[in-house]
Amino acid sequence: MSEPMRLINETGAVVGDGLPEPEVLLDGYRALVLARRLNAQAEALVRQGRLAVYPSSHGQEACQVAAAAVLADTDWLFPTYRDVAAIAARGVDPLDVLMMLRGDWHCGYDPLATRVAPQATPLATQLPHAVGVGHAARLKGEDTVVMALCGDGATSEGDFHEALNFAAVFASPVVFLVQNNKYAISVPLARQSAAESLAAKGAGYGMPAVLVDGNDLAALTVVLSEAVARARRGGGPTLVEADTYRIRAHTNADDPSRYRTDDEVDEWRPRDPLLRLRAHLTSTGALTPEREAEFAAAAEEMAAHVRAGMGEETALDPAELFAHVYSTPTPQLREQAALLAAELNEVRS
């Protein structure tokens, strides 16, 4: 288990059997281009002060894209705060995804309509929820599969253990994808686990586990598709560890020079998921300059949409603070809503 499963290496050469169809890889490449552009756009919006904060998944886009691409419409995605690109790849409007970071509301999309859970900021706490959604589906006789995302740091949390154990005992249809990007803010992987790999933890749960090159979209697609298919046919959960790297800081508020060297980051740059898939698809002739231009244009269109939406001031109603705490506001909340309304009237008059 020490070497990650890999199909396309850093030069774009095929190094394994069972490569997905060229059209699948081409779609994946298009999604990578959009994900990279979304990361860049969001990073720029932070610098312009229009987003409070952005945890970039630059360098991890293959994980983001593959996690979304292998799911059916009826499946569920459980993302973390670093999975904006995965949610967008699932088809949710990036503006709705970014609403949390813009500060309008905690979750900007409808989880039931999109089958994407709210982005979790407490680590690993979304994993038991994912198991619950999967367990309910199983009890109802539905073939829903749940893709649950987390990072390497989250594997140290108790909820990670409880969720995986639960899922294994009940053969829940859940795929746990750990994006091992080597850092939990500043704390390196060696401080999270003494295990040979994070995938090695699967054995303790009695769960199949795979270590995969997290910057190889082809390998991720194959591994995650197999895990999803196993879950769908009642074969239970899979733990997938994606070996990747967080190229950017934790967020714009972080200073990575305090805990890692530029040399270390530079070592990872040639392993970039876009570079290798582009090299592969160009060498096979599947990716023509026309298609490349088409993808770039789609990415620019998406970025323009995000910029335009971010430039608009949304009207927020302070009364909404009280509207959703309970399905019907309590008498106490009605009193407090009236108090705030009176304050606001006073300000206006």
Partner: protein, 326 residues
Amino acid sequence: MTEKPTMIQALNRALHDAMAADESVVVFGEDVGPLGGVFRVTDGLTATFGGNRCFDTPLAEAGIVGVAVGMAMNGMRPVVEMQFDAFAYPAFEQIVSHVAKIGNRTRGRVRLPMVIRVPYGGGIGGVEHHCDSSEAYYAHTPGLLVVTPATNTDAYGLLRAAIEHPDPVVFLEPKRQYFTREELDQDPVPPIGRAVVRREGGDATLIAYGPTVPVALAAAEQAAAEGRDLGVVDIRSIVPFDDETVTAAVRRTGRAVVVAEAPGFASVASEIAARVSERCFHHLEAPVRRVTGFDVPYPPPKLERHHLPGVDRILDAVDDLQWDET
């Protein structure tokens, strides 16, 4: 004549009836399956409804509550059991950060119709970590409903109401009353959010909930023998809180004592006393008194009787309500 049911049997009947009425109701937790729960509240559910409707889980409270969140997101109505008050604390993050907040986080798009049953409180000679009164933690968290029955009829009715409610409910079961036998009236189901006057009284009002309601009623009985007429209000629903009923009762008497088992500092009793003071100030003949547990970790069994509010301590507080000055 058949024997009157215990509170455990009333709760058990509520679970049976709720599961029979709605197949999306599922019950799970530790030892709730074939064993029927350590207190037998879930007795017979697995046999009647099968292992998919009532099942044992790994020993993992955060996981139990977290899985319930996901099941509620996906159309089920989970009712989970935390085996004892203090055993619920590993699930605290799930309860505070997710159970309480997902409805608000999603602008009401995702509601979590789930019930977290917690046997709570002392008075049973239990060891440490089996006797906590943990209501303040939950009541302090916006987004949770917190109810606690004091009678078998309320145990049945409030549990049915909690299971039918679209929002998450922390259902605190006073284990001191688990074996109390009483008439059980299954109809109508009391609404969550309404207190009830258990005893009318003209001189002073005792305000209690859960395990201290019978104590307050006993105190009122004794006071009556001594010529003082005490009313008793049973809060039943800590969140939402029924200011209307409480305020009306205290305004009639002008004197109030809040009786609760939890340590008094920063407690539900403190909140009630503050609310009563704010709303009834001009009707009060004396400051609102609180009779609560001491601010100590729950005592060992041989000392708990000194900690728990009893009839004498309640009546001493009533005696202090400035009777001579009126």
